[in-house]
Amino acid sequence: RYVRQLQRLQFLFSPTAADSRGARQFVEEAAQDFARQHPDVVLYVSPRSGMAPVVRAEYLNGTVREELIASKTSEEIVQLITKMANQSGLDIIRIRKPFHTDNPSIQGQWHPLTNKPSILTVQGPRLQPQ
């Protein structure tokens, strides 16, 4: 069953600044629809004046991602938070390998004595010199 990795979204913007206009429109119009469509995400709206408007996303694995929403329209903010809601909290960096195993070797990893006669490895009772 699908578990949404986004835990909460915090909208921090000022009630009077000009660049928070899109954020204010979003909170008035589209925030309730978004909250209804995504019931497992919690939305928090708090005022923060003197700083740029920001939306902070916290994921289940603990990563916190902040995105600027200054001078963005309401629709752009909706697009942005739907994108964040569909992401997982893994870091957005280049994946070195598209595969990973915890047990890469089943028959035992090769070491220089795998294909040598076992007389070299086995320590039995001391062999008599012949």
């Binding site: 890469p104 070797s105 089943i106 028959q107 035992g108 990893q109 090769w110 795998t114 294909n115």
Partner: protein
């Protein structure tokens, strides 16, 4: 007094310089010498590093393939076969494993690799019998080709 346009004698100052410089320096942090600190030197070094990384993507494929080939050759020598014989006989027995997978098997599954080497030796002997023998012996089992 309502001011609708900025006064003409006010010129704008560049306030973003720090971040524009950091955009370049963040890619130069692991370099050696002054090019990890000084913007002018870092610009040149970062640009050359990016050019080299794009060109190296084509070389990486070649480098990895030669690495796999050396590893497979070394592993097959442990079982008494040389690399060309091993690969040629595997292909003749219709085992179409690529070099990446063969190298991984040689490292992590040595017994599987041993059985593949045995298959290649057997196919090699059957090939010699078919070529040098007189046609009186039956065809080898591993020389049978399945057409899909």
């Amino acid at each position: 007094m309502v001011v609708l346009s900025a006064a003409r004698w006010v010129r704008s100052r560049l306030t973003d310089r720090f971040w524009r410089v950091q955009e370049v320096l963040k890619y130069a942090r692991h370099f050696r010498g002054r090019k990890n600190r000084c913007y002018k030197l870092a610009m040149r070094s970062v640009r050359r590093a990016f050019v080299r990384s794009t060109k190296a993507r084509r070389e990486k494929k070649r480098i990895l393939r030669t690495l796999w080939i050396t590893r497979i050759g070394a592993a097959s020598l442990e079982h008494g076969l040389k690399y060309p014989a091993f690969i040629g006989n595997l292909l003749k027995s219709q085992v179409e494993l690529n070099r990446k997978v063969l190298a991984d098997l040689a490292i992590y599954e040595p017994k599987t690799f041993k059985s593949l080497a045995a298959l290649a030796t057997r196919r090699r002997q059957e090939g010699f019998l078919a070529a040098l023998g007189d046609g009186k012996e039956p065809e080898g089992i591993f020389s049978r080709v399945v057409r899909h």
